[in-house]
Every structure is written in C-alpha cells, then in structure tokens.
C-alpha cells in the first residue's frame, strides 16, 4: 500500500474522525454522500485503515516472556508491609496536604521575597499581544456584564425544568433552558450509561456559522525565567526563547461563527481560503480568558474549581485589555471563559497554550478546535449582545469525574451556578 497519496479535498479533514466513528450523524451523512463521488477520500480512508492494520500487526508482534513469578514474589514481600500502606494512605490523604498547606502559608507570610520572586516568575513568563481590534477596556467590559446581568434578572427562568428532554438524538439529548434572560443551550452527550457532558447546542434561534480567522498572537517573552518552572519546549522543538517577538497563529481554523440574528439553517463552513498555521491579520477571537466577573467568582470560589495562574496578558497598544488564565489540568475544573468578539463571533473549544501540569510544571499545548462543530462544544454558553459586540460566557466543564457521578448530581451542580 502507498499511504498518503497527495490529493486534496476539503473533506479530507474528516477522514480520521470518520474512521473513528467520531463524526456527528449530520456530518457523517454528509460525508457518506460525498464519498460516493470522491475517489480521493475513498483512497485516503483505505490507506488510513491499511496503516492502522499494519501498525497493529507490527507493534503487537513483540518478544514476551512472562515475569509473573518474580512480580508476585516481590508483591508478597510487600504484603507484609500492607499496614504501612494504610498509614501512608492517611498520610497521603490528610496529614501531608495539611502539612503542605501550613508550610506554604508559612513560606508565603514569613518569606515575602520568596513569594515575590515566585510570583514575578509566573506573571512574567510571557506576554501575548493581540494585534487587532478589541476595543473595550477591562472596566468597560465588567460594567457591561454587570449592567446586562442587572437588566435581565426578571426574565423567565426555566432552570427548574432542566432535565426535561427537548430533543433526543442518537447519542445525546438536548435541553434548552432560560436563566436570567440568557438562553442556555445544554447538550448532554451520553457515552455509555455513566458519562454525560455539558455542551452547547444552539437550537433557538437557528444559526448559521462560518469560519473564523484564528487568533494571531505575538509572544513577547520578557524574561529568562522559564527554566525556573521547567518550561517544556513545544512540539516543534522551539525553545521558549524562540517565542520572543514571534508571531504565530492558532493551530486549527475550523472555528464556527454563530450569527444569532439570522434565522437561517446551519450552513457549511467555508474554509477553503484558510489553512492551518497561516497567519491572519484580523483577529476576531482569541483564546482570551478574561477574569471572571467578581460576582461570579464569589459564587464559584467555594467550589474550588477554578485554580488559576495568570500567565499571559493581552494588550492593545499600551493598555492591557485582557488576561489569559492558564488553568490546571485537574481531573475536575470549571472555567468561566469570557470571550470578546465582533458581531460575527464564535465559541470555540478553548485549549490553553501553556498548561501547568502536575507539580507546577508547564506543558506547551497546541490550541485546537475540532472540525466537527456539533460535537466539540462541551460548553454551557450564554451570550450577551451589545451594540456591536457579543460576549459569551462559557462554562466549560472538562471532566466527567466527580461532579458527573450521576445525572441528578450534575443537574444540581448546574443549578447551583448562579450568575447574579
């Protein structure tokens, strides 16, 4: 077989998802229809499957001799110390975290220079400068949000009806609710019996979508402190120093735009002109995560779901207009993104550029959105529209653990989130 025949088709990007069964039913139908006429895609599917088979066949064939007896014997030796493990468990669960917390407090309060130094190191890792027009100031933004919330408190609230099916599709159920005048569209995807996730499906009004230019960002690395926090080089091998004054776009371009004014049916995204890793001069939407409005933060703080470190600031001229929060990749975390965009705007699946992983280390992550717009939005979304801007609040829940233990628990969790 000859993998990778050089053919180009706009549907090419769906091939892997198609093979994985990861396309939405709508997209799958569309792709099936396309396949009838497209030899290029047919070939690529067959090549990809051939590659999978060749890979499995090659990698599954390895020399193996069981070492079971040695493993069991070592485990039996450890069994004698099993009680120690229980003590370790207690230590691990309660004593050590408490001790660590006390130690951290002592460190912070008694050694301010250390605190300052660490804080400075983290806050100056990089600065991201947006190049286009996001005109609102930070305080304007907060005022807009506050006034919006105040004006919309008397609207009908259907939060209590949450959980009643609005529509049942093959693998998911869609609910729509209203809360404080904001339309919240909730998409619960059932993967197996135990898994559900929250997303947004825009059903009312119908929407069209288009392709959004990816963000163009300039990273201005002001310091050489990356080594302190063990900054890992990105996949392409560039060191953090290489980021300095470098402009690079976000990785994927298949971002959707919802035009909620337009009651037309969903349209196919036109993305032929836009290629991954191509720079774009006009930035409509960045991976901005501007600080959560205070009233929301107060509500969300007790949930301890918002561990954040501020790493990147967004500037317009000399004015800082936004801050990117880099979030911990904890099993459960909840983010409130606030995205600024012109009237034609979008919600994307937001991945962080730099994500701290365990032990405060940072990992470079590419920013991606998934091509399939119906399955990628695991956000609960509300929007605010002003004269020429729309603001989206996305509550992104990126885990299935703990808060997703049961549907009811999940629903209660959502109900407990108050915007006012």
């Amino acid at each position: 077989m000859n993998w990778r025949v050089n053919m180009s088709c706009k549907y090419e990007k769906y091939i892997e998802q198609y093979i994985d069964g990861d396309l939405s039913s709508r997209r799958k139908k569309e792709f099936d229809a396309h396949l009838k006429d497209c030899k290029s895609c047919k070939n690529m599917i067959s090549e990809s499957i051939d590659f999978n088979n060749a890979f499995i066949s090659a990698v599954s064939d390895f020399p193996f001799e069981s070492n079971k007896s040695s493993i069991i014997s070592e485990a039996k030796n450890m069994k004698k110390n099993f009680g120690v493990h229980s003590i370790m468990h207690l230590l691990y669960k309660f004593v050590l975290p408490a001790a660590a917390a006390i130690a951290a407090c002592l460190l912070i309060y008694n050694y301010k220079p250390v605190y300052k130094c660490v804080s400075k190191a983290f806050s100056n890792v990089s600065q991201v400068i947006t190049l286009n027009s996001v005109n609102l100031s930070y305080s304007n933004l907060n005022n807009t949000i506050s006034s919006y919330l105040e004006k919309n408190t008397n609207s009908s609230s259907k939060i209590d009806t949450f959980g009643q099916d609005a529509k049942t599709a093959e693998s998911h159920k869609i609910y729509s609710i209203k809360k404080n005048g904001s339309k919240l569209f909730v998409y619960i995807n059932y993967l197996g019996e135990e898994f559900c996730r929250l997303g947004d499906i825009e059903k009312e009004p119908k929407f069209s979508y288009n392709v959004l230019s990816p963000a163009l960002i300039v990273v201005e690395n002001k310091n050489n402190k990356c080594s302190i926090i063990d900054f890992k080089a990105p996949a392409n091998g560039e060191s953090p120093e290489d980021f300095i004054r470098k402009t690079f776009p976000s990785a994927y371009v298949n971002t959707a735009i919802y035009d909620l004014k337009n009651n037309s049916d969903m349209k196919e995204a036109v993305n032929e002109k836009i290629k991954p890793w191509v720079q774009f001069s006009d930035m409509n939407l960045s991976k901005l995560k501007i600080p959560i409005p205070k009233n929301m933060r107060i509500v969300m703080n007790p949930s301890k779901d918002c561990p954040q470190n501020t790493l990147c600031y967004f500037y317009e001229g000399n004015n800082r207009i936004g801050t990117m929060y880099v979030t911990h990749a904890y099993p459960e975390f909840l983010l409130l993104h606030q995205v600024i965009a012109p009237p034609m705007c979008a919600i994307t699946h937001l991945d962080d550029i730099i994500t701290p992983i365990g032990n405060g280390k940072l990992e470079y992550m590419t920013y991606s959105t998934e091509p399939d717009t119906t399955s990628c939005y695991n956000d609960l979304t509300a929007f605010i529209q002003t004269k020429d801007k729309k603001f989206y609040f996305c509550i992104e829940i990126t885990t299935t653990e703990k808060i997703y233990e049961s549907k009811n628990k999940f629903i209660n969790y959502v109900k407990s989130i108050k915007f006012k």
Partner: protein
C-alpha cells in the same frame, strides 16, 4: 469516566484486594495486564530487558498504590497511567544514557524475502515512533493497540479530549508521511 461492563468485575477484584490484601486477585491482574503493559513499554523503550524491568516496577507501583485506586472508575486507564508515569520516570532519569541501552533490532539476515519488507517496515516504524514525543507515542499506542477511547486517554494523561485527538491525528499523519515508501500488503 466510571467503570462499566466488563471492567466491573476487575474493579470488584481490585476492591477485594484493597480490603483484604488478597494477592490472588493481584495475580489475576498480572495475568490480564502483564503482556499489554510489557508491550506498551517495549514499544516505548525497545529493549527487552529494560521493558521487563520496568514492567515489574509498574506492577509493584500498582500494588503500592492500590489504596489510591477508586473502584468506581475503570481500571485499565489507571494501570496504564502508572505504566506511563513509570516509563516516563525511567526515560527522564536515563535521558543521558538512553542511547547506551541496547535497542532490539529485528534482523533481516535470516528472514525470507517475503518477510524482509515487513521487518524493514517494523524497524522503520519503531524508528519513526521513537521520533515522536513520548506522550504522542503513548496516545498512538493506546488508541491503535489498546483501542482505548479518547476520553479515557484524556483522563489518563490529564489533557483535554480535543488535545488528545489533535495529537493522535497529527502523530498518525506524521507516521504515515514518513513511512509512505513502504508498500506492504496487509
């Protein structure tokens, strides 16, 4: 992601093991997973002896950390997470000396003509795999060999599902590009 279906039995076994320190259940676990874990590590490291040692360490780590396991969740990602962490620790510790570890190379000298192409392909595949970042290698192996869902890989590696998918598709594409010269059947 919680446990379901066939994984429930294993979870119960693990629970039993947790409460009673039952090595019988642990033996069952070793039977079920030793080859898979060894295969994963062998693909990552490509040295039989090293893979054997790391596999043993993985199971000892599993045994040591049983109290941390939540039986409500599937065991496979948890086991592979330990395997991944143990392997990564090894890679990190031996970064400077990794080149000294003898890499098993499949010999083509005794292979028939029919097989030599496949052996070349296999060697080349391992070489190309080795060029990927360990996390990408892990994703590709877990997805293609272990047929692990993206969601489980995501939970296991603590990165978002979209990031897992993105890395998988990109890594696979790289492998396919770099191995296109091989025209094998099946």
């Amino acid at each position: 992601m919680k446990a379901n279906g066939g994984e429930v039995m294993e979870s119960e076994q693990m629970l039993k093991l947790l409460t009673k320190g039952d090595t019988g259940s642990f033996e069952q676990l070793v039977d079920n997973y030793e080859k898979k874990i060894y295969g994963y590590i062998y693909t990552m490291i490509r040295s039989r002896e090293t893979a054997k040692d790391i596999t043993q360490d993985v199971f000892i780590n599993i045994y040591k950390n049983l109290y941390k396991y939540d039986p409500e969740y599937p065991i496979k990602p948890w086991i592979f997470k330990i395997a991944y962490n143990t392997t990564m620790n090894y890679i990190r510790k031996n970064k400077k000396h990794l080149s000294d570890i003898p890499i098993d190379k499949l010999s083509t000298s005794t292979a028939s003509k029919d097989n030599s192409g496949k052996i070349d392909f296999k060697n080349e595949l391992y070489t190309e795999l080795n060029k990927l970042k360990p996390i990408c290698r892990t994703i590709v192996i877990l997805r293609l060999i272990e047929d692990m869902p993206f969601e489980q890989i995501s939970c296991m590696l603590n990165i978002s599902v979209s990031s897992v998918k993105h890395r998988f598709y990109r890594s696979k594409s790289t492998l396919m590009d770099n191995l296109k010269k091989y025209e094998l059947e099946g």
